[in-house]
């Protein structure tokens, strides 16, 4: 089994998808799965799925494949889902709500304990089981609960100030949806997700396809 620190990012990104597809097979009373079946479900080459499985501490059987329950457990163990990290979210707008309302979020190793916003119409309310508090309380709550993950779904113009307030509280890793490059101390892990950049790519590919066909 490879050491955890050596798992490349594309492999890590596939593991939640394997879990999703394994649960789906389980719900259809399937007990075992071959790497080629997994590969097909994910839309990757069989060699890729085979290599991915080598990061796990499980043995497949010839002509039978992997025990699905065992495989789910091994992936959850690797991803640390059995011991989710606590997180706070800043910006309880539509995107923030989408993330808080995602019923499988905990499956990704993260549990949102509180959300923060500046809108008095939102603070004091409960969105998808998460309490929304005024942003002025964020730093102290992060400190008090020793929270290490922050999620920023606030408008771009507030993102830098929010990130700094998070880091002041002790946040070590930030999932940032704002389209700005956060300027933070180098020991802070930042994962930028440029949601709409995919749309530019899609629309460009479509144009190229249409240009080619005329």
């Amino acid at each position: 089994m490879a050491s955890k620190t050596s798992i490349p990012e594309p492999v890590l990104r596939r593991f939640p998808r394997y879990i999703h597809c394994l649960h789906h097979l389980r719900s259809r009373d399937v007990d075992t799965v071959s790497t080629s079946m997994l590969a097909e479900q994910l839309g990757v080459a069989t060699a890729v799925a085979k290599k991915d499985m080598q990061y796990l501490n499980v043995e497949g059987k010839n002509r039978v494949g992997y025990d699905i329950v065992q495989l789910i457990h091994a992936i959850e163990e690797l991803l640390g889902w059995n011991n989710p990290d606590e997180a706070v979210l800043a910006g309880a707008g539509n995107l923030g709500c989408a993330i808080m309302g995602y019923d499988r979020l905990q499956n990704y190793g993260v549990h949102i304990v509180s959300a923060f916003d500046t809108d008095p119409g939102k603070t004091g309310t409960n969105i998808c089981g998460v309490e929304v508090l005024d942003i002025s309380h964020m730093t102290s709550l992060i400190k008090r609960l020793h929270i290490r993950i922050g999620i920023i779904t606030a408008p771009a113009k507030h993102a830098q100030a929010i990130a700094e307030a998070m880091v002041d509280g002790g946040i070590m890793a930030i999932w940032n949806f704002a389209p700005v490059a956060l300027k933070l101390p180098p020991h802070i892990i930042v994962q930028d997700t440029q949601l709409y950049a995919s749309l530019s790519v899609l629309s460009q590919k479509l144009k190229e396809r249409l240009d080619a066909s005329t």
Copy 2:
């Protein structure tokens, strides 16, 4: 100027971020920008920004840089924002609403004309200016309006059927948020966005960082 078809995906993904940052500078009455300033705002190397600018039909001036208005226009031209594609969205849940409510969506070259859902509590309503219709009307509306882009924000179990209904109507490109590998004819462009995969990566990086420091 390089041909449009030769623009690599990472470059395409940066252009909307350049635009965002150029508008921000404009709002502060800045008229010109250097590649090093652009690079700093985006958090990329100056050489990267310099290379990106070469895909555009604009000339910078020595020691002055680029005219911001000209640069915005050139990027918008390249991305086709002056002539947005029409799109439909299936699944008016939290994520669907987040996308429909994004005020800059049109800036990414796409305009959502209708959304579809199965929930009678949502159909017939208007979400962020987009009418939500029953999903049974989707294929015919796509045909009637010659729409070419479909966005899937519906639950995973419905994604394949929705994608097929979109393709039946004439959709050529799909932005898919469901964590499933869609099985579609090869001429259909599919852009998968695995929103929560980033979270696994973030949480894993945090674990590695904590392991390393103990």
